[in-house]
């Protein structure tokens, strides 16, 4: 599978600040799940470029099914064999996609570890959690069995669980505690990069807050790179430095977290951020906002801009012309035809937003205007 060249030269590489090798660089990544009897092939990720500096936190947002988890798994080549991968995944300059299995195994967990969506199922129910935490330590030859055991206890304490819980089985822990175990496990081999795939979905608000704080703290302490995946834009903007919004297997908007959340350049990003009302913001009182239409079926992505059927500001060209990421301000990119039109970047987006809200007849200009102070 040769990476095809329909995309522009990755703008990210040039646009990104700072030279040298980034911690992670993804170029034109495509993942397609092969056809199986009864279901067609699924192009789950359709050309994604990402870049992450060491110690930086990147948030990936998007609706269900837009390919977030697929992307995360692809980074460590953890996809099932039915998935076909193309593009480049450079971790510290080394291409994961072409690595030997042996090298890959060495990179896994020691170079980059993953906190999976749903800790309930990501832990082996019949092993004690201490053993599960110690397993990668032993595997990567980081310690003797006794030391690994001790380290497991320390890690548990690091995430706020008593070290004695190494003896527990996963089902003896609450959801939040299990998620902590997953985090402890991810830190076991001191990786350079942690990928957290919806670490707080399905958790209670209070526990979600605990976990987010924990992650933030750990990442800051250890100077890790973090990729955090969520569908909650508000959570991501709170936690991360940069934010990428995915739609139908593509990144449609990317930029500094706060800015993207507050003034999204892409209409989809805007819709997402307004879906979570600010309490106290009277404009959203009794005025829930959302996007008409449904997320696209990944097996039948619309022609042109994948978002155009739902886009409130779509132009005629959107239906025919695929939109690629373009610069939309300092350190920001968005894949919207309106962004390219106007060098004003974000301003164009805002204008579009106004047009859209106006079209719906609701008095809500305030959203995008007032939220600016957030950073």
């Amino acid at each position: 599978m040769t990476p095809h060249d329909t995309h522009e030269e990755p703008a990210a590489a040039k646009a990104a600040p700072g030279g040298g090798t980034p911690l992670l660089e993804v170029r034109n990544l495509e993942v397609t799940y092969a056809r199986t009897p009864g279901s067609p092939a699924v192009p789950a990720v359709r050309g994604v470029d990402l870049r992450l500096e060491a110690g930086q936190k990147l948030g990936i947002a998007g609706e269900s099914g837009c390919g977030k988890s697929t992307l995360a798994l692809a980074l460590l080549r953890l996809l099932p064999s039915t998935a076909k991968l193309s593009g480049e995944i450079l971790l510290d300059g080394e291409d994961i996609r072409t690595m030997s299995w042996g090298r890959l195994r060495a990179v896994r967990w020691a170079g980059a570890s993953v906190v999976f969506q749903g800790a309930m199922h990501s832990l082996n129910a019949v092993h004690r959690i201490g053993d599960q935490i110690a397993e990668p330590i032993l595997l990567h030859g980081r310690a003797t069995p006794a030391a690994a055991r001790k380290r497991a206890g320390e890690l548990l304490e690091q995430v706020g669980l008593p070290a004695a819980r190494v003896q527990a089985y996963p089902h003896e822990l609450s959801g939040g505690q299990r998620q902590r175990v997953m985090i402890a496990m991810a830190l076991a081999c001191d990786p350079r990069l942690v990928i957290a795939d919806e670490p707080t979905t399905a958790l209670d608000v209070m526990i979600q807050a605990q976990i987010l704080r924990l992650i933030e703290g750990l990442v800051a302490d250890q100077d890790l790179g973090l990729i955090m995946i969520s569908h909650d834009l508000a959570v991501l903007s709170d936690t991360c430095d940069r934010l990428a919004v995915m739609y139908a297997g593509r990144v449609v908007e990317e930029g500094p977290a706060k800015a993207v959340h507050a003034h999204a350049a892409h209409p989809y990003g805007r819709a997402l951020s307004s879906a979570f009302p600010r309490i106290g913001d009277l404009a959203s009182r009794r005025a829930p906002r959302g996007l008409p239409g449904d997320p696209p079926d990944p097996t039948a992505v619309p022609d042109g801009c994948a978002f155009h059927p739902r886009c409130p500001v779509a132009l005629d060209v959107c239906a025919t012309e695929d939109q690629v990421l373009r610069v939309a301000g300092p350190g920001r990119r968005a894949a919207c035809v309106r962004v390219g039109d106007d060098e004003g970047g974000a301003g164009a987006g805002d204008g579009a937003a106004v047009a859209r809200e106006g079209a719906r007849g609701a008095a809500s200009e305030g959203v995008s205007e007032t939220a600016g102070s957030g950073s």
Binding site: E63, S64, S174, G176, D204, V205, M206, I207, Q208, A209, Q210, R213, H231, D232, L233, A234, V235, S237, D238, Y268, A271, L272, S274, A275, F276, P277, R278, I279, G280, S284, R285, R286, A287, P288, R289, G290, L291, P292, D294, P295, R310, G374
Partner: protein, 340 residues
């Protein structure tokens, strides 16, 4: 525009549905202690009013909602609908269930995968032996729920619909019997962010158009802010704070409500993360049931207000089901006696 003004909906009108001192106790399995899932709740829903019931996971929201619909029989206390106490004979329940409908969290689960949209919506009509033109009623309900033209959806199966469409079908299935009350348990929790707004807008519109009352169960305070008139905050089987949404959510008085609001990502206040055991209905603490996790008590503020002992030992009264904003907190009452 609407039948009733959104503000102060049905103020003073007799409640359509009201819970009085409702308790639900689940007997413990195999030697476990009994769980007091709902432990004395008064809650009213007045005609045309949208009430949000919020709280942490496991605090008894769903159980309360189910007991309001007669799906669980309260261990004690009673539920009144339209002035008459609920009867639990199957005939009486069936009649009640024509007037009060349930919308569940998970629209995919709420639809039988083997039934078409038409069958799913017509199910209620068939159960109640609807005399009129079934197809017309189904079409009407679907289009009111925003699925237009309805005929296009008749023969689809749930798996051919998106999550939002499914939830609309569920809502249509509830609407088709022209109920007076809808109880929605986490109606949008499983939906994508972009879709939830539309569903909430639909609920609002239905209230405006049909004068429907609704009880919305949710753990999402933003949702309450989005659509509810009144909000009741539940903790460990009790309602701890209730009142108009604007009042409760912008000026929360109960430390629990405050904590809930503070951990929202965009909250400006410093997040107050509650520690201690998550609430367990089989072990309800004495005194104020929140005292073990209460940051106010922990920080000594309650001590300063002179209510620390009361917090630990004195039970709080059950809050009234409707009426002005109220809070069940010794401390709040002590520091602001005037309020309420």
């Amino acid at each position: 525009m609407g039948v009733l003004a959104p503000d102060g909906a049905g103020d003073g009108a007799p409640p359509l549905l009201s819970a009085e001192q409702v308790k639900v106790v689940f007997p413990g399995r195999r030697g476990d202690r009994a769980a007091r899932a709902v432990d004395g709740v008064d809650l009213d829903v007045r005609p045309g009013e949208i009430v949000a019931l919020v709280g942490e996971s496991g605090c008894g929201k769903t159980t309360l909602a189910r007991s309001l619909l007669g799906l669980v029989t309260p261990t004690s206390g009673r539920v009144t609908f339209d002035g008459k106490p609920l009867e639990y004979a199957s005939r009486a329940l069936k009649a009640y269930r024509r007037r009060a409908q349930l919308v569940l969290q998970d629209p995919s689960g709420s639809l039988n995968p083997r039934h078409t949209v038409y069958e799913a919506v017509a199910e209620g009509l068939r159960i109640h032996g609807y005399a009129g033109d079934e197809q017309e009623a189904v079409a009407g309900a679907l289009s009111r729920a925003g699925l237009r033209p309805p005929e296009r959806f008749f023969l689809r199966h749930p798996h051919e619909l998106s999550g939002g469409q499914r939830q609309r079908v569920v809502i249509a299935g509830a609407l088709v019997l022209e109920p007076e009350l809808i109880v929605a348990d986490e109606p949008v929790a499983s939906l994508d962010a972009s879709v939830r707004g539309e569903i909430l807008a639909l609920l609002l519109r239905l209230r405006d158009e049909l004068g429907l009352s609704a009880l919305i169960v949710t753990h999402d305070l933003g949702l309450a802010w989005n659509i509810a008139d009144r909000v009741a905050v539940m903790y460990l089987g009790r309602i701890v704070e209730t009142g108009e949404v604007e009042q409760v959510l912008t000026a929360p008085r109960h430390p629990y409500t405050r904590a809930l609001l503070s951990v929202l990502p965009e909250s400006e206040t410093e997040p107050v993360i509650l520690t201690g055991e998550p609430p367990d209905p089989s072990r309800v603490p004495s005194g104020c049931r929140f005292h073990a996790r209460c940051p106010v008590l922990a920080s000594g503020e309650a001590e300063r207000a002179g209510v620390a002992d009361a917090c630990r030992t004195r039970e709080l009264p059950v809050l009234a089901g409707s009426g002005p904003a109220a809070v069940a907190c010794h401390w709040a009452e002590a520091v602001e006696p005037a309020a309420g």
